[in-house]
């Protein structure tokens, strides 16, 4: 997300507090299977679906979803990644960031149904940036959004089409997504952010 804090996901806990698990490995697998079925249902067969994950964990989720879609439809689903760093609205607030990889599948996104995949939906600013980035790459037939966790607190008129788990949170809480590819294990942890940091950020 476009927020300047790191309360979303992936961040190793600054103070070592692990947080309370809200989704475990098997839950994540079940949730992704359900989202894959929903995509097939809503896209009436998912013939022209292209999955684009937003780095870092969105990419792994997109790849897992692609595998599930292939199981359901019997066809491989194009999957790639979309780095949004250069499109962020908060670039000037922080030192320049390293870029991640943008990998568009061979046939491109022209006329396709692009499903953006991210781990946590929070302010919505990441998705705003992703839509801008997408506009420079081609003109999809439609764009949809799949997220593992929606933690609320939107700052832009953006919503997800496929949500793994709605997780009402306070701004003092952190949501941390762990995926085996990146963190060695699967899980979603709800923690409390250090008070000093919270005052600092907001």
């Amino acid at each position: 997300m476009g927020n300047t804090d790191n309360t979303g996901s992936g961040a190793p806990p600054a103070d070592g507090a692990p947080g309370r698990p809200v989704l475990e490995g098997p839950d994540i697998a079940r949730v992704l299977t359900r989202i894959a079925h929903e995509i097939v249902e809503r896209a009436k067969g998912a013939d022209d679906v292209v999955l684009l994950g937003i780095p870092t964990r969105g990419v792994h989720l997109a790849q897992r979803l692609a595998a599930k879609l292939a199981e359901i439809t019997g066809r491989p689903t194009p999957v790639g990644s979309l780095d949004i760093t250069m499109y962020r609205d908060d670039l000037r607030l922080r030192p320049a960031r390293a870029l991640a990889r943008t990998e568009i599948p061979g046939d491109g996104i022209e006329g396709a149904l692009v499903v953006l995949v991210d781990d946590v939906l929070f302010s919505g600013r990441t998705i705003r940036a992703a839509l801008d980035a997408l506009g420079d790459l081609g003109r999809p037939r439609a764009v949809q959004l799949a997220v593992l966790v929606d933690r609320g607190h939107r700052e832009l008129p953006i919503r997800a089409d496929y949500v793994g788990k709605n997780l009402p949170t306070s701004l003092r809480e952190t949501v941390r997504v762990q995926l085996a590819e990146e963190d060695g294990r699967d899980g979603v942890l709800l923690g409390l952010r250090a008070a000093a940091a919270a005052d600092d950020e907001r």
């Binding site: 997300m1 927020n3 804090d5 790191n6 309360t7 979303g8 996901s9 992936g10 961040a11 190793p12 937003i54 780095p55 870092t56 964990r57 969105g58 780095d83 949004i84 760093t85 250069m86 499109y87 670039l91 000037r92 607030l93 922080r94 030192p95 320049a96 960031r97 390293a98 870029l99 991640a100 990889r101 943008t102 991210d118 781990d119 946590v120 929070f122 990441t126 801008d132 420079d136 790459l137 081609g138 949501v175």
Partner: protein
């Protein structure tokens, strides 16, 4: 990485790898229908060129425009500099126009440093070649080309690779920057030149010196040929051009003695028949044209890392950590 890019020696290994990794991602832009990013929208980059240049100026201009910055080109010819305006007054003018970055090429060594440290301007200063001092973005694009061709990918450096730089070392800012950067990245650099074209104090540089090109070629992973800079020569550094070409020029026979995978590099402009023969310059192993292409991506990376973040940003290495932690 500091706020300015004056010398390749200022870059740590992590800084340099970050620039190369960023350039690697930006190079992929070339395959897209829209080769432009909105990142530097509303920022002004001034190309301040006191010395002739085609490649570097165009490369910086393309890089800034692909990042959506506004570009002002300023060349000393046809400006108030030819009426005797000083560097300071020129700088104050640019500052008054709100330049966020000044890319400067100057015939005097140290001019970019002066500009960066004088307090005349608030923006970033990028050295695009100063006298016989340094040309850091050329070294970065050379390192980028080497890393791509020699197969160490993202995050990698040039550990253990042997790079030989041949020719007019004395007058070459490209050689100085490359010695610093390539050794920072772990490469073993050997300079080959006639004794008269080896600078005083070279023993303090992180490199070897040889006077025998043929002895070094078989163990080189890349050979970088430098132009003999006649415009900077005010003495007889070697007897004749023919003798220079015979002893220090790269021809087909010498290229055949290089390892199979080894590259021939040239920063341009080339003097065909002098330091490099036409058949070598036109061979597949010569990366001169590729270096120009890579120059745009590398300079985009430099401009992005200097200008893309907060105005007084800290080390981008630190930023890389943050972005990994941050929630996407």
């Amino acid at each position: 990485m500091e706020r300015h890019l004056i010398s390749a020696a200022d870059l740590t290994r992590d800084d340099a790898v970050l620039v190369l990794d960023t350039a690697e991602e930006l190079a992929r832009l070339a395959d897209r229908p829209i080769k432009k990013l909105p990142t530097l929208r509303g920022r002004t980059v001034v190309n301040l060129f006191f010395e002739d240049s085609t490649r570097t100026r165009i490369s910086f201009e393309a890089a800034a425009k692909r990042l959506s910055a506004d570009v002002i080109n300023f060349s000393a010819k046809g400006s108030s500099v030819s009426k005797g305006e000083s560097l300071k007054d020129t700088a104050l003018t640019l500052e008054a126009m709100g330049a966020d970055a000044v890319v400067i090429r100057h015939h005097d060594s140290g001019a970019p440093h002066r500009l960066a440290t004088s307090g005349w301007i608030g923006g970033s200063v990028v050295n695009a070649g100063d006298g016989t001092h340094e040309h850091p973005t050329q070294a970065l694009l050379d390192a980028f080309t080497l890393r791509r061709r020699l197969g160490t990918g993202r995050g990698g450096d040039l550990g253990g690779r042997r790079v030989t730089i041949v020719g007019d070392i004395l007058h070459s800012r490209v050689a100085r920057s490359n010695v610093h950067l390539l050794s920072t990245l772990g490469a073993e650099v050997t300079l080959v030149a006639p004794p008269t074209l080896v600078p005083v104090g070279v023993h303090a540089w992180p490199c070897e010196v040889s006077y025998d090109l043929d002895a070094v070629l078989p163990t080189s992973d890349a050979v970088m040929m430098l132009r003999v800079q006649r415009e900077r020569m005010n003495a007889a550094y070697f007897p004749t051009e023919r003798e220079y070409a015979r002893r220090y020029g790269l021809d087909g026979g010498r290229m055949a003695r290089m390892p199979e995978h080894a590259l021939v590099m040239h920063p341009g402009p080339m003097n065909r028949g002098m330091e490099i023969t036409a058949d070598v310059a036109d061979s597949d192993r010569c990366t001169a044209v590729e270096q120009v292409t890579n120059g745009v991506s590398t300079r985009m990376a430099v401009l992005y890392l200097l200008l893309g973040g907060a105005a007084l940003g800290g080390a981008p290495g630190h930023a890389a950590e943050n972005s990994a932690e941050e929630n996407t």
